[in-house]
Symmetry: C2
Subunit: 876 residues, 2 copies
């Protein structure tokens, strides 16, 4: 049995996108719908992979099937490929599963040679058209198949036009065009060492091969890497009978959308050109007409097109992006696909289509790209005001949104100014954990150093504050409180505006527009909530973040990190003294100082979240992270603790770790310093009990023990937590209920999750650490090789952005399965950054987690993505 490598358009359908590519599948579907499609066939994506696999060779079987299909096409068209009388001409186009640039361009008019061109001339009665088609064909073939520099061909045209004194190509005569053809052929001979192929069959096979090869050209690979498209999809090739939009004033070509892709308005939207081929539209020499004009110029064609457009939209149940050609008064559809649209348009279209009954709410979910919602959640610049904006520098678009305000160069001053009601932009060389409060208080953050994963960028994204990072053109002088952009020196209090979506920095103040979270957005979110199975929680360490997430619809806090609270300026001295305590008694003394502060933190959280669950994680990072690194801070601390600087340094050194990520942290701290875990437990329980009493809310604390890898670790730490919690309950006369759970973030924990589950009320998968340990590299250190990995196309997805289903995902799946085996009542979620990634959310829904937790600004995305997951996973 030979394999089927080629499908006539009439043999395929829209479901065969993976095999036939998007374009091929849609051409087949339109054929099935009885729409006017120039017929043809598709060589499959599997053929492409086979070709690559066989070291770029078309198998005999494949060649045979292509020839057979061409024979069928001859029969359908009533013409004959290469025929001297009535030659069939075809176009050859690439068409992958997912539309992507970088692939081979279109070749039109394939099948022309010195004989068939004469036949075309005769048959069309238009020799100029025939010879112009011929020279275009050679030019395209030479460029894309034979990789000859385009300019060499253009030079011939220019030469003749100059010689003859023409201004436009259209002035070229038949004889001129014949000369062009001859000179083009000479170029091909010179560049390739071979004659231009005159055999149509040879032309066709070479074009097919060129499409296949283009799958692995550097631009295509780069695009796939950037867009996380797998490299083993391959591309299909579409061979289609030519129709001509340039046969005179009764012909034309155009593109159109069934609805407005910018606003979503339900009205045909597009443009066309009379007497033109597609490439003329692109070339931009003539200005296309809006599609409405066609109604006047060719009312019948317009009606036919409008009807076809509606038919396609009804059929695909989505807004369509179409290409058409009018060949001597006859409409042909060359392509249709779901159209790209802006986020507001996507919402509008989805809501409209549900309201008019075209699609269900479930279908509406899949019509909106979840990630695109992010655009809607942040302030933007007022469009009119922005037109006046003067860009003074550009950096990395590190955290989306627009911000405007007076610049301040320290976090303290930024905070103070904000408290005085000023709009503030914090400008720093780079930020550090001590700047957190100032960052919170600012409308935007600008740093002159650091990349997309710098402290400023990561924290800003978490907060939803706009940030432009690594603006190297700007010189920040923190001592003198100035920033210099070009010639202009900005001082403290001067206004700037920054756009974290584009990376642009503007002079002065620009009006911003607040995001609109009701209307279509609210409708879609409501529908998503009806449909999804996964609960959506948020990662929040402060009341401000908690409130933000609540506003975005979070149903609880999946991860409240307590270490950020330790960095607070007022507390860090006590934290440091606690860490450097010579014995447990001293440590307990400092912990007693910290306990009321931690309690206030938690009370603040409970007051906002009330009965919504908050999972609070006990201290996770290695203690040395809290110690000073600057000479002056070390001196101050030494004085403070009555040590010499040398003693203090030795003390700090003793906490040094070779691999902090694999060191003394997480549950390991709770075991070796149970007094820290006890203090935190006490603070949590007291806070919960007090807020419950004050508000009457039924609060049930969830205490989470991080980094567990062995059942013994969890048992030990849990005992500390339970003993303390029971003590507090007794002291307070409370019968509050609480849960104790653990993170699953160590590979071993996933492997023995059944045993761990016996002692855990809940699991939270920490997929950040789990990814690092499963891959065996840390994010902090991977910088030295990971860019090269990306360039080489090693990643189908960036495993830190979207969960690596093949490896890390296996461990999550194992952990979920075993966890349920070990404890039927267990509740499971994920609190890594993957909790806000739509693809990961689909995976988490499939493996059966109960919730995902993500940063506040990801909550709406997660709500939609969870609904999409519910819809897709039901289909699967």
């Amino acid at each position: 049995m030979s394999k089927k490598w080629v499908y006539m358009f009439s043999e395929g359908n829209a479901d065969q996108r993976n095999l036939l590519g998007g374009k091929g599948a849609n051409l087949a579907e339109m054929t099935n719908l009885g729409l006017p499609v120039p017929q043809g066939f598709t060589v499959t994506t599997e053929a492409c992979l086979d070709y690559i696999d066989k070291d770029n060779t078309l198998s005999d079987e494949m060649v045979e099937q292509i020839e057979e299909s061409m024979q069928k096409l001859n029969e359908i068209s009533g013409k004959s490929f290469g025929d001297e009388e009535n030659p069939l001409l075809v176009s050859v186009r690439s068409g992958a599963r997912i539309s992507m640039p970088g692939m081979m361009d279109t070749i039109l008019n394939l099948g022309l040679n010195n004989t068939t061109v004469e036949a075309l001339a005769k048959k069309s009665g238009n020799p100029r058209f025939a010879w112009d088609s011929y020279r275009r064909f050679i030019q395209m073939f030479g460029d894309v198949v034979q990789e000859i520099d385009k300019n060499k061909f253009e030079a011939v045209l220019d030469d003749i036009k100059e010689r003859e004194g023409y201004e436009y190509d259209t002035e070229l005569t038949v004889d001129d065009l014949k000369e062009v053809v001859d000179r083009y052929k000479a170029i091909v001979k010179e560049e390739t060492g071979e004659e231009f192929p005159v055999e149509p069959k040879e032309q066709l096979m070479k074009a097919v091969e060129a499409v296949f090869k283009s799958w692995n050209n550097p631009r295509a690979i780069a695009y796939r890497n950037l867009n996380e498209i797998p490299h083993d999809y391959g591309t299909a090739v579409n061979v289609q009978s030519m129709v001509f939009g340039n046969m005179g004033d009764n012909s034309g070509t155009g593109v159109a959308f069934t609805r407005n892709p910018a606003t979503g308005e339900n009205k045909l939207y597009g443009e066309y050109l009379i007497n033109a081929q597609g490439e003329d539209v692109v070339a931009g020499i003539r200005t296309p007409e809006p599609i409405d004009r066609l109604k006047e110029e060719m009312p019948e064609i317009y009606d036919q097109f409008a009807e076809t457009a509606q038919k396609l939209e009804d059929h695909y149940k989505d807004m369509q992006d179409m290409e058409f050609t009018i060949d001597d008064g006859r409409l042909f559809m060359l392509q249709t696909r779901n159209g790209k649209r802006t986020a507001p348009a996507a919402l509008q279209i989805a809501v409209d289509m549900v309201n008019d009954g075209s699609i269900t709410k479930e279908e509406a979910m899949t019509r909106i790209e979840a990630k695109a919602l992010d655009q809607l959640l942040h302030p933007t610049f007022d469009e009119e005001a922005l037109k006046e904006g003067i860009v003074i520098a550009e950096g990395l678009a590190a955290s989306p949104g627009a911000g405007t305000g007076k610049i301040y160069f320290t976090a303290d001053e930024a905070k103070e100014a904000a408290e005085n009601g000023e709009d503030v932009i914090l400008v720093r060389k780079e930020t550090s954990p001590e700047d957190i409060e100032g960052m919170h208080a600012s409308n935007g953050i600008l740093t002159s150093r650091g990349g997309m994963t710098s402290h400023a960028a990561v924290v800003a994204r978490g907060m939803g504050t706009c940030c432009v990072a690594g603006v190297e053109e700007i010189v920040v002088d923190e001592d003198n409180k100035t920033m210099t952009a070009g010639d202009k020196v900005y001082k403290e209090g001067d206004f700037i505006s920054i756009d974290g979506t584009t990376g642009k920095v503007y002079d002065g103040s620009i009006k911003t527009v607040a995001p609109e979270l009701s209307g279509n957005f609210g409708t879609i979110m409501d529908w998503a909530d009806e449909i999804r199975n996964l609960k959506i929680r948020t990662n929040a360490d402060s009341p401000r973040d908690a409130q933000q997430a609540l506003d975005f619809g979070a149903e609880g806090i999946g991860l409240c990190r307590t270490e950020h609270m330790f960095f607070d300026e007022e507390r860090i001295p006590a934290v440091r003294r606690m860490i450097l305590s010579p014995d447990k008694e001293t440590r307990e003394k400092y912990l007693e100082e910290l306990e009321p502060m931690q309690k206030e933190d938690f009370k603040g959280m409970y007051e906002i979240m009330k009965e919504k669950p908050i999972t609070i994680r006990l201290l996770d990072p290695p203690l040395h992270e809290f110690l000073p690194t600057e000479e002056e801070d070390i001196e101050a601390l030494a004085n403070d603790m009555g040590m010499t600087v040398e003693e203090m340094k030795a003390n700090i050194d003793s906490l040094h770790e070779f691999n902090p990520m694999l060191g003394h942290r997480g549950v390991r701290l709770a075991i070796t310093y149970p007094e820290i875990a006890a203090m935190q437990t006490r603070a949590i329980m007291e806070a919960a009990i007090e807020v419950a009493e004050e508000t009457g809310a039924d609060i049930q604390p969830e205490i989470m023990i991080p980094l567990v890898g062995m059942t013994e670790e969890l048992e030990d730490a849990k005992q500390t937590v339970i003993e303390t919690a029971e003590e507090v309950k007794k002291e307070k006369g409370s019968d509050i209920e609480y849960k104790v759970g653990t993170m699953i973030e160590i590979p071993r924990a996933a492997l023995i999750a059944d045993k761990i589950a016996e002692d855990a009320d809940f699991f939270s998968f920490g997929t950040n650490d789990l990814t690092q340990m499963t891959f065996g590299y840390s994010r902090d250190d991977a910088g030295k090789f990971i860019e090269e990995y990306k360039e080489k196309g090693f990643y189908q997805v960036d495993p830190f952005a979207s969960i690596d289903q093949e490896g890390v995902g296996q461990l999550v799946e194992t952990g979920v399965k075993l966890g349920h085996q070990g404890n039927e009542e267990i509740h499971m979620g994920v609190c890594g950054e993957h909790g806000g990634d739509p693809n990961s959310i689909k995976f988490f829904d499939k493996v059966g987690l109960d919730y995902v937790s993500c940063s506040p600004f990801r909550v709406p995305i997660a709500r939609l993505a969870a609904a999409q997951a519910a819809v897709e996973n039901t289909e699967d």
Copy 2:
């Protein structure tokens, strides 16, 4: 249905060791064999666990069953527990699955009180015996059940003896003993606040509970941790009718082995005492007689005992360690168990028993503790000579064996002296990688600092060189070349001797004896080789190690690390220049300098191993490990490379990593610096081809790519290797075959091993890294908490010493299974330190690896362990 918590001796058998404990199972077995055993019953290990589980409560069911069993024992013995006329007395002993110290001691004579003591006096006609038995019972019960300080009881005896002017306990009269009993009871009252229990049933239940509780006393826990005995085994309790060896000259007690446990000689070996109870033998007041004397004193008893001993040895097919009592002319067997023996005795016994047909070769394998072979592989001190030895200090027994020689304080001088034929002991504060050659040249290594995992200790164990580390009593002055031990100052060239098995340091030179590897050792190794399935390879980086391993029977090299070769004094400058090269061209220039040296290394290895396989691993550690850290070295390198010191430091800093273990190493180097992998491949291929030509050996290089976690990584690095290898083959006109494989040491690699296997000729499981990443902690950093984990009993085994079958082992098993799915031809081994651990070897045999690779001195252990694994895994 109630559970059976108690077994009469007649109900059990030797296979029930897990349920009845070793002692109980053997008492049952002896009962079944019809041997004279004082009857009794065993409360099971499950009862112990239930007791602990119920917060130290004997369940009603259990109490009931114990009482019923006691009733049966009354019937069997014809006596009655607590009876006023004919009282049954019993002993109570602990007996776990594995014999272990730290558990509760024996209680004898339980059942005595003021009434039964009179009956015993009357029945035995020996009131002194009866009252002495009573006071002994109170003393033992008070000590072990009621935890009263022993000395308090001893003080009473001393007081009376002094008052009466006695020298020995035996002079105490009946009245004295009655006084002792009264005063003992008063002590109990005072210490516990309660009367001494007079009810025999109460005595019994309390004794049973005391045994159960003793399972979790700190000493027992510590012993289990040290010996890797699980904490959930529990202990059984044996309650046995008393017999008395102290009833007069027709009574006695003794212990004996069926063969000599020191030499293995096939001759009854032991000692006994007439008119004594077991504790008298231990007390050492009287000197026991050798067992031969019994033949003369009680020929019939001797014959009966000798016959019983033979019967037991035949039955258990192993040398037995027995306890017996002669009660008024009747022999009773109190215990039998497989006897502990020295390593030479174990070999002798195993060989003898195979030769006389008692056991098969397979059984012989299981009679020898694999780890104990280590004793036989190193030089030892001549026993006579050692008697004269003067210990001058003691440190950690860091690497076994004995060494003697002149002391030198630098590696260079040690090396030079050794080359001049001197015996050398290298003395350092601590060693570093630059000392390797000097360490190799020495007979032994002494360091004043560092622990069991210090550089000196780890490297010495790898080399098989004896080492005493961390000898803090000795002051090493490297500048003045002296070491001071107590008052004595040793200078360069003075003789010392060190014993790495005991940690002792001796003054002067002591004669050593070379290990004997033929004889019984050779016989056992030959048998092991016949039986085992696993091949045994070695980890060796130098010809010297390779030769050593070959002598020990290695069948190949499973891991040849190339980085150690880089540290060579002559090369490190070129290595550093290579690493710090500003561009690829410069780097290639330095690599060209290094290539001939690497080739010579590999030639040296191939010349020794010839056709035996060598798996050579491409460079693994992060490059910064090769860079200087000392100020003066940095300066020298800066001068050398024409940089300022600041530039050099910045250069070095730029290679800094936060988590080097999770950083830029392994295959990541081969991908970002393919020129390094290419150089190494070239060196390997050229070496193999040249040695193959020189020797005619059929050499097939195995090139191993470390730290792979993604198929893409392996594919990329493999391409570099194959391109280079093919280039070399072409240049040399060779058609040599070679293999390219990978390490499985990243969790993800194990999870996707099917896909990785498609591109790998072999897998080598790197269980060191795999353990670190699966547990999520590095060995370098775990020090801060791991001791606490061990103390708390978290580990059933140290996962770095014996593979964690539950977690890491799951990944190995997955890797093996998937690997075979992906590639039927694949060859798999392990090259982590677990490759030399008998328990791990059993696991590796079970999951189906082809070989294990271990350090040279572990090779004989691994050969035996692999044979044991084959035997045990067949049984399973």
